[in-house]
């Protein structure tokens, strides 16, 4: 009798231990309460919360909040900046946006990053604000504003800078081997071959362990071969485009590069991260000559070696593919970052006043000093300082661009990111165009 009682007590202790560990682990799934839309009157009084992606660039966002708080409107309703650091931004935003802790104004990437919120009825169309203050519309480049437009409504005001993806290179290394940055695909292949012969282990650095840097190669290859319409069609639900000859052709070009050992031995890229500054170190150390990356690469390299960024870091547009339908000037990347507004914000007038700061010359200067290429119409007049050549180069790229392909993982609703990343990583490890086409065809567009 007592044995069985002891058995059960001991067992309960052990079971409790196991259960607590496991249950605590699953508990976070239930952490946020059921997300019903709360009435605006239930929101905090005399305060608007501004939520931003937490990184070194928050200086400018804090400046904007401080500036707004000095205005008459800001003295009545104070703005408070909150940040969520690093890669978890979208995840945490999605977790709080349906709750009573939702921010009034929040940072996002436009496109697919907000479409679910819009569909859930959480976003305020900004057309009304723009009517009351026409400058809120006319101060920004129209193509950039339209990347945060859903249907006929605008949902985002640009607040950082545009981030085109460019081909960066180590000037010294290319010069040492008498090479120039490639303008055509054939030249890219011959540069790769020349570098390999000269003993450069990895002609093109690729942070394959992060997966999204691999995606950039697809964005450009598809644009150059098929033009921007293929992806637009796919985003509109036409999944058959992934099986067209153009699609297969674009994949074929990538396979050429992979087979040529441009990114190092097969699968070697899966051991390398961009996010841990590993690829930047490879470029600085001369182990790699090229890297395809967004415009933020400049500041990434700068954080590792300021003198390399200033003197040895070269940048050029992605090469053209002869016979392709895409334009040499087309760009891919992140169009902009935007502030979107919560529909049931308690103080829409205060929010409107805060958004005015985004096009003020003083704020634009703050952003430019951080190396961000703002998308206001007055930007070219305001560029100055040590980053000016780099910013002007980008501005010209964008002016010439006929199409700007938003990163696929942001153009599709967030729920597809994982599938997109897996598809591109799998293709690089094992170039099978059928498998890639099927994976992409299975994505769920917003419509």
């Amino acid at each position: 009798m007592s044995v069985s009682r002891h058995w059960s007590r001991r067992t309960v202790v052990a079971a409790t231990l196991a259960l607590t560990t496991a249950a605590a682990l699953v508990a976070f799934g239930a952490a946020s309460s059921s997300a019903t839309t709360k009435a605006s009157s239930a929101r905090p009084a005399n305060k608007i919360v501004v939520l931003a992606y937490g990184d070194a660039q928050n200086k400018a966002e804090q400046w904007a909040v401080d500036t707004y708080n000095k205005t008459p409107q800001g003295k009545k309703v104070k703005a408070v900046l909150q940040t969520i650091p690093g890669a978890n931004y979208q995840t945490k935003l999605q977790t709080i946006i349906g709750s009573s802790n939702a921010p009034d104004v929040f940072f996002n990437w436009g496109g697919g990053s907000i479409v679910q919120f819009q569909k859930a009825g959480l976003l305020l169309p900004l057309n009304g604000f723009m009517k009351a203050d026409p400058k809120l519309k006319s101060s920004f480049l129209p193509s950039i504003l339209s990347a945060a437009k859903i249907g006929s409504n605008y949902y985002g005001i640009p607040m950082r800078g545009t981030q085109p993806v460019m081909l960066f290179y180590n000037k010294t290394l290319l010069a040492a081997h008498h090479l120039t940055p490639p303008t055509t695909w054939a030249q890219l292949l011959s540069d790769v071959a020349a570098l390999k012969n000269a003993g450069v282990q990895v002609p093109i650095a690729l942070g394959g362990a992060d997966q999204w840097p691999t995606l950039m190669w697809f964005e450009y290859a598809y644009d150059r071969v098929a033009g921007p319409s293929l992806v637009t069609d796919a985003l509109n639900g036409k999944s058959s485009v992934w099986k067209t000859p153009d699609s297969t052709k674009a994949l074929g070009y990538l396979k050429q590069l992979i087979d040529a050992g441009a990114f190092g031995p097969s699968k070697s890229w899966d051991s390398v991260y961009f996010t841990k500054n590993q690829t930047a170190q490879m470029l600085i150390g001369g182990q790699a000559a090229f890297e395809l990356m967004g415009s933020w690469y400049y500041s990434t390299v700068q954080s590792q070696s300021a003198s390399f960024a200033a003197k040895e870091l070269g940048y050029s547009a992605f090469p053209s593919i002869p016979g392709g339908k895409g334009n040499l000037n087309d760009l891919a990347g992140n169009t902009e970052n935007y502030y979107s507004v919560l529909k049931n914000t308690r103080y829409p007038q205060a929010v409107a006043a805060f958004l005015k700061v985004m096009y003020s010359p003083a704020f634009v200067k703050q952003e430019l000093a951080l190396g961000n290429l703002t998308t206001t119409t007055n930007t070219p007049k305001l560029i100055s300082g040590p980053t000016a050549p780099y910013l002007r180069y980008q501005f010209n790229l964008i002016k010439k661009a006929q199409a700007f392909q938003l990163s696929w993982d942001q153009a599709w609703p967030q729920t597809n990111s994982n599938a997109i990343h897996t598809a591109v990583a799998d293709y690089f490890d094992n170039p099978d165009s059928n498998a890639f086409a099927s994976a992409m065809a299975a994505l769920k567009p917003a419509g």
Binding site: L19, A22, A23, T91, Q94, Q116, S271, Q278, Q287
Partner: protein
């Protein structure tokens, strides 16, 4: 020792001292904590596993859809295999090393105290920090594989591209897990070994037993309960290991290091399918509980038999 004697005595004489059993009230704080922090969330998660929810709006009831679709999910089944492999390797590597180190560290010499204090440093570091450090150290282009290329440049170690192949990626996780957790288990074994009465060794020495003989005939049997405790902790710990996988391999290459707990994260926070993630969460609770019960049952830990009866 006193406590043990009292407990032993109580077991035999039911009438004597009424020291033991505190009233039910004493367990109230623990019980409250358990209900609020474990049972309630568990209930919510079970409910969520029957819904479709992307963290926006309200969860929609979908019946057993999540359950049926996940039972046909090849990745989920694969993830249990990965978890079993990682757990098995964890036990196989951590137990012998920490057992030997713990027994060694149990000695009272000063050099042992200093060395073990140094050795316990990883215990103070967060799992995240440890994983980030090893990620940099194992980088193929400027980490250890480059510096020690005579060691790494063979197909067994993926020519230094440790995160690119299934075998080496699992090897990295096992190694970092060992580096991180061995100190903790060493500490448990050190405590266990120090509790072994000196008289046993003295008696054995008189009988002419050498060091090795003493280790196998006295230390090991005396540490039986310690070993079970440590193994159960590794078991449950490995089943729920998540942070080091997230940072070191992110479940890759492919899904070859996607453990069940990491797959739960992928479903919840990358695909925003909290219904599916909850199914996996519930499965994990059931499996870890069952395994702990089996271990406790098979090992006889529940019989409350002291290793020091008769000493």
């Amino acid at each position: 020792m006193t406590a043990l004697a009292v407990r032993g005595g109580r077991k035999k004489s039911s009438g004597g001292l009424q020291i033991g059993r505190p009233s039910f009230l004493w367990s109230l704080p623990a019980l409250l904590y358990f209900v609020v922090c474990a049972l309630v969330p568990l209930g919510v998660v079970i409910w969520l596993s029957f819904t479709s929810w992307n963290a926006l709006g309200s969860p929609a009831w979908v019946g057993t859809d999540n359950w049926t679709s996940l039972f046909h999910d090849a990745t989920l089944i694969h993830s249990f295999k990965v978890t079993a492999i990682l757990t098995g390797l964890g036990i196989l590597t951590q137990t012998p090393v920490s057992l030997l180190l713990g027994v060694w560290a149990a000695g009272h010499e000063r050099n042992r105290a200093i060395l073990s204090a140094l050795y316990f440093i990883p215990l103070l570091m967060s799992a995240t920090a440890i994983s980030i450090v090893w990620l940099s150290l194992l980088n193929p282009y400027y980490g250890l594989p480059r510096e020690l290329h005579w060691l790494f440049d063979n197909s067994l170690l993926g020519h230094g591209y440790l995160f690119s192949y299934t075998g080496t990626a699992i090897g990295v996780l096992t190694f970092v897990g060992m580096w991180q957790w061995t100190p903790f288990h060493t500490l448990i074994y050190q405590g266990g070994a120090r509790a072994i009465p000196e008289v046993l060794y003295q008696a054995a020495a008189i009988d002419g037993a050498g060091r090795v003989r003493q280790f196998f005939s006295i230390t090991l049997p005396q540490l039986r309960n310690t070993i079970i405790t440590s193994v159960v902790l590794i078991l449950v710990g490995s089943f729920t290991t998540f942070d080091s996988i997230l940072i070191l391999t992110a479940g890759r290459p492919g899904v070859s290091t996607t453990s069940t707990s990491y797959y739960m994260y992928v479903n919840g926070f990358e695909k925003f399918q909290f219904g599916n993630a909850s199914v996996i969460g519930v499965l994990l609770v059931v499996v870890t509980t069952l395994i702990s019960l089996i271990v406790v049952r098979v090992s006889g830990w529940d019989k409350m038999r002291s290793t020091q009866e008769g000493v």
